[in-house]
């Protein structure tokens, strides 16, 4: 099967407008005869559900959390990009488009990214109208900050809780439609299979997580907005419940899975503290606006710090290595995430790590506090030579900008980041890969759409900061509601889809069989035991730096672990009750397949690009080396029974508007 | 609750003012008491309003308490209320019941006697009897003691009630801080002032 991306013809800046002008529309009176299922209620799913319901479709939403408001989009801290150019620093749709393509290391589809940049401004307008309290300046206008990988300040934010505010905005739009009866929410429900009838997605099988009941739900189209698969690493900044089950189930039913190896390792997370660790906490990238990253310049200092004999403040300026500023003078601490993460790993691998495990670097606010303090003293006409006063004034400015992040850090680490530098280390944070979709955001299964982080489309091999919120909302508010109409136009006379069709019966039986198997397995190890083992393989061999040998081993180890899991997993409790271990078992079963495909994809991609770094393919000074001649394509995998049998389909990436060059932030 | 509470607070202030006068001048006290006792506006308009206010306040208090208890049918095994709220705020029902009981005694002591004097026995008007009646009541150490205890509880009731009333009617602006302080001052000055009056008469005129 050849992949058809269905990108409209015409010049890049007219494609989306022309496309919208010529697609099929569904008459408002007919929309009420059409049902749509949306799985996942984060930024993408929530905004899509609300907008589709506003248009008149009957929407059913599904989320495993007890309320749509708890989806993990809520944890996004830093901001959302939009090419508003409110700061007058030369931003434009083209620049945002260009930065996103370049940031993604030239592995994303031009037409999709341009559309994203185009609608980015609408998102801000829409959210402000909804009452989202974005940060403002004293004049009452919206404020911006700058984020990694760009030379303009285009990031809108709400302190360190931008994702929360935007999600609550989408949730409020959903609430309005729930109140009107146009959205029927199914919270504490988990989708466990997709039902395909005559080649089209026509419904899902879901489990009511409270009663354990297996339910059939039909619709004319199914939208998957279930987020990314970073929890395949066990330790990540994802929520504990974030899972790939919906995305993986549709993959098994025929949706191709694209670029699974593109994973973002975020540079600024709180380091692992011990064996018991259950998750990692992100410190917003916005901190790099003011924080300077360093490690000791001398190995003996690093060792003394690790042993607790020296404190970071004991080191003079010349004994510190601000390695990002040293290596990348033009972007400094604001290089893109993949670059910053690898640089931290490089220093720690070389023995300069600063915590007990040797896997941490400093993020230091002392100079920002000084700078702001002096600024404030000048403004207020106070004594600029009073050290204590300067520190107090500066700390107040920093607290105003990042207060909640500093507080979070202190609660977790028990150190005061105003006084001593933060310790940070990279952690798994986002997956750029995901379900393959065409320009319409439709997967290779007709009627099954994938939006937000769960698809692969916009970020290439690396996502820039503040772009995930933008993409989720762009897909949900402004793209899918158009493209899905084009697909649904012929369905206006279909009528309600019966859930008694044999396809529903069969899918339900398979789901029930798997649940029964888990409950009656009576093995010896908990689900977490296997999940942690999988995570260790992934982190060690498919993590920040990969090589052919490690990947080959990982593939074998994961396959073996999967077998052991099915033989030996122990799931207590019953199938017909609230059972969190059973929920986890299903998710980990899917991760155990996805992880293998992930490694397989990483092994086949013989180049380094963005978040995918192959040790064999790097320049002399350790920068990633792309191979545009052989790998400028999307790798879309077709399921054939086992991850090892997956078949590769290539969608060539054609760059008509941007010249491929080596990405440089020096 | 809040509005009736605010109304009772204003009545309390007036009551306090008149009683305080008794400490300084028996004559003025008699004059004021006589005015309050025989002015038709006070007697036939303000007095029923006051009674209605008191009844409304305590009936609503009980209804509120009952509703709020029903809002948590299964209680906590361990509940550390002191960790986040003052005793006074958590126990308005206790301080309220004590003040209500005191009110019964107080009505029996003064109001019933007064009603009897004026309307049932229909005695002649005596413009100077009030001060003596007052002093006479505080001869008993038991009664004086009960009054003092009740006033401490009233203080606690006001400590929370004063500011709570303003919060309930939506008072939150730059004057709120000052008002809070005033509320606490009120909750101390008025009840302890009453205690002072009671003790003053108890010890000065045996």
């Amino acid at each position: 099967m050849a992949l058809d991306s269905k990108v409209p013809s015409g010049s890049i800046s007219d494609k989306w407008t022309n496309y919208k002008d010529h697609i099929n529309l569904v008459n408002p009176a007919n929309k009420r005869n059409i049902d749509i299922i949306v799985v996942g209620t984060g930024l993408a799913g929530g905004s899509a559900a609300a907008t589709l319901a506003e248009l008149g479709y009957n929407v059913k939403t599904f989320c495993f959390q007890d309320s749509p408001r708890r989806a993990h989009s809520i944890a996004a801290q830093g901001g959302i990009n939009a090419a508003k150019n409110y700061q007058g620093d030369g931003d434009s749709t083209f620049r945002l488009f260009y930065d996103t393509i370049k940031g993604g290391d030239y592995r994303s589809r031009e037409a999709n990214v341009h559309r994203l940049a185009e609608v980015s401004t609408n998102i801000i307008d829409q959210c402000v109208m909804q009452g989202v309290p974005l940060a403002r300046e004293y004049g009452g206008l919206l404020d911006n900050r700058s984020f990694g990988g760009t030379l303009v300040a285009r990031t809108f934010y709400a302190k360190g809780q931008t994702g929360q505010q935007l999600l609550l905005g989408a949730y409020s739009a959903m609430n309005r439609q729930i109140g009107r009866g146009k959205i029927k929410p199914h919270n504490r429900h988990e989708m466990l299979d997709l039902v395909v009838v005559d080649g089209k997605a026509r419904g899902i099988i879901a489990r009511d997580l409270v009663t354990g009941e297996i339910e059939r739900h039909s619709a004319h189209a199914v939208v998957i907005a279930s987020g990314g698969y970073g929890n395949v690493f066990f330790l990540s900044t994802y929520a504990m419940g974030s899972n790939a089950t919906a995305a993986w189930k549709i993959h098994k039913k025929g949706a191709f899975f694209a670029n699974p190896c593109y994973t973002q390792i975020h540079p600024t997370c709180i380091p692992v503290s011990g064996e018991h660790q259950s998750k990692l906490t992100l410190m917003s990238e916005s901190l790099r606006n003011d924080g300077r990253i360093w490690v000791p310049a001398k190995l003996e200092d690093a060792q003394a710090i690790r042993e607790g004999k020296k404190k970071p403040a004991d080191l003079s300026e010349e004994d510190r290595d601000y390695y990002l500023e040293r290596r990348y003078p033009s972007f400094g601490n604001l290089v893109p995430r993949d670059v910053a993460s690898r640089a931290a790993k490089e220093r720690c691998d070389a023995g300069f790590g600063v915590n007990k495990t040797g896997e941490a670097v400093y993020l230091d606010f002392a100079s920002a506090i000084q700078r702001y303090g002096k600024e404030q003293a000048y403004i207020k006409g106070l004594d600029a030579n009073n050290t204590k006063l300067i520190i107090d004034l500066g700390a107040a400015v920093v607290a105003n900008k990042y207060g909640n992040l500093f507080q979070m850090y202190e609660k977790i680490v028990d150190e005061d980041p105003y006084k001593t530098p933060m310790m940070i280390y990279p952690a798994v944070h986002y997956t750029m890969g995901g379900t393959w979709v065409d320009y319409n955001l439709q997967t290779t299964i007709p009627g099954c759409f994938s939006i937000g982080e769960s698809n692969f489309s916009d970020h290439g091999a690396n996502r820039l900061g503040a772009s995930a919120l933008m993409q989720g909302l762009a897909d949900g508010y402004f793209v899918l509601p158009y493209t899905i109409g084009d697909y649904l136009a012929p369905d206006i006379k279909t009528g309600t889809i019966s859930t008694d069709l044999p396809e529903f019966v069969e899918a339900e039986k398979k789901v029930k069989d798997q649940i029964e198997k888990f409950i009656n397995n009576n093995g010896t190890h908990s689900v977490d035991y296997f999940h942690k083992k999988l995570g260790k393989i992934m982190w060690d061999k498919v993590g920040m730096a990969r090589n052919a040998k490690g990947l080959t081993e990982a593939i074998e180890e994961i396959a073996a672990l999967r077998e052991e899991f099915y033989k030996d997993v122990k799931v207590p409790g019953t199938a017909d009750s609230f059972n969190q271990e059973l929920e986890k078992a299903g998710r980990v079963a899917d991760f155990l397949e996805l992880g293998e495909l992930f490694a397989k994809d990483a092994l086949h991609r013989n180049e380094s690009c963005g978040g995918h770094f192959r040790e064999e393919y790097q320049s002399e000074d350790g920068e990633a080396q792309r191979d545009d001649e052989n790998f400028a394509y999307v790798a879309a995998w077709e399921y054939k029974g086992k991850p090892s049998d997956a078949v590769l389909h290539k969608e060539p990436l054609v760059f008509e508007n941007i010249k491929l060059v080596t990405r440089s932030y020096k | 609750m809040a509005l009736s509470g605010l109304f009772l607070i204003s009545f309390l202030s007036l009551h306090f003012f008149i009683n305080m006068v008794s400490v300084f001048s028996a004559d003025s006290f008699n004059a004021m008491s006589h005015f309050m006792g025989y002015n038709p506006l006070i007697q036939f308009v303000m007095q029923p309003v006051l009674i209605a206010g008191v009844v409304f306040h305590f009936v609503m208090g009980f209804v509120l308490e009952l509703k709020n208890r029903n809002a948590r049918p299964i209680s906590y095994v361990k509940y550390n209320g002191a960790a986040n709220a003052s005793w006074a705020s958590r126990n308005m029902i206790i301080s309220g019941v004590v003040v209500l009981a005191f009110l019964g005694l107080h009505m029996y002591d003064f109001w019933f006697a007064e009603m009897n004097y004026k309307y049932i026995a229909v005695n002649t008007i005596n413009e100077t009897r009030y001060y003596e009646e007052l002093v006479h009541k505080f001869e008993s150490p038991v009664r004086t003691g009960l009054y003092c205890i009740a006033f401490v509880l009233l203080s606690l009731h006001l400590w929370h009630g004063f500011n709570s009333s303003f919060q309930s009617v939506g008072f939150a602006n730059k004057y709120a801080k000052a008002l809070h302080k005033l509320g606490y001052a009120f909750a101390i000055v008025i009840p302890f002032g009453f205690i002072f009056i009671a003790l003053f008469h108890h010890f000065n005129h045996i």
């Binding site: 309320s67 708890r70 993990h72 829409q126 004049g139 609430n175 207590p572 | 709020n68 029903n70 958590r90």
Partner: protein
């Protein structure tokens, strides 16, 4: 660290529940409270018992999933954080820790420590929104300047994570702080002002219908709120409600 846990166990919504004692050893100071429960659950599973169910998701203090009434306080003894950010360094070796579900008639127990907080969602359905459609051509975001002070106050109200600690900790099980935060956020912004009257009446009516208790201004909610949402918002809502009631 060695601890004695006293945990509420309840099979399902209809079953009777009770406190069950679990001794636990080897707890480290750096563990979060939920990681301590993970350790307990791993032990229970290995012994063949059913693990303790509890709600949790992001484990970074923002999703509002985690609840737990720990030693008589919502989210435990620390301030300004939900349970997932509570760390074991707040406890001492040998401590006994009571762990109960959030309790209120409007928050029925689903299992063990998991409660149903959908009443909060229904209050939001009643009016927690600005009625604006997604059109792609609304006015530019900077057309209406909003004073920074108002925007900041709206933001502070909007940081509510909907965890329910206010209800759980209130001696009256009142949801006033939660509702006030939402009402105030919109009331403070010009976009939300248009529907302010209907919003406050509808949301308060739904709050009462859900069986929450009444606010007596004890202020416990403000103290226990992981996001430190101020009581001033309750005053603001009272004001909104009074004026809406008069306007009708």
């Amino acid at each position: 660290m060695k601890l004695t846990l006293q945990i509420w166990r309840q099979k399902n919504a209809k079953a009777e529940g009770k406190i069950v004692e679990y001794p636990i050893d080897g707890i480290e100071e750096d563990m979060s409270f939920l990681e301590m429960l993970d350790v307990l659950n791993e032990q229970l599973i290995n012994k063949g018992d059913e693990p303790v169910s509890f709600d949790h998701d992001c484990r970074e203090g923002i999703c509002g999933s985690c609840s737990l009434f720990i030693n008589g306080e919502a989210h435990g003894p620390d301030r300004g954080i939900p349970t997932c950010q509570l760390h074991m360094r707040m406890f001492k070796d040998g401590d006994t820790i009571f762990i109960e579900p959030f309790r209120a008639a409007a928050f029925p127990v689903i299992k063990d420590l998991v409660v149903d907080r959908s009443a909060f969602d229904r209050i939001q359905h009643a009016g927690g929104f600005v009625s604006v459609n997604t059109s792609g051509n609304p006015v530019d975001a900077n057309t209406i300047p909003i004073p920074k002070h108002d925007a900041d106050r709206a933001f502070d109200a909007a940081t509510c994570i909907g965890c329910g600690a206010c209800v759980a900790t209130c001696k009256n099980s009142s949801a006033m702080l939660f509702v006030a935060a939402k009402v105030s956020q919109y009331a403070l912004l010009p976009q939300g002002r248009v529907e302010a009257t209907d919003r406050v009446l509808n949301m308060v009516a739904q709050m009462d219908a859900e069986g929450f208790g009444n606010c007596t201004n004890t202020g416990a909610c403000e103290v226990e709120c992981p996001k430190g949402i101020s009581l001033d918002y309750i005053a603001q809502m009272n004001r909104e409600y009074l004026s809406a009631s008069i306007k009708g």
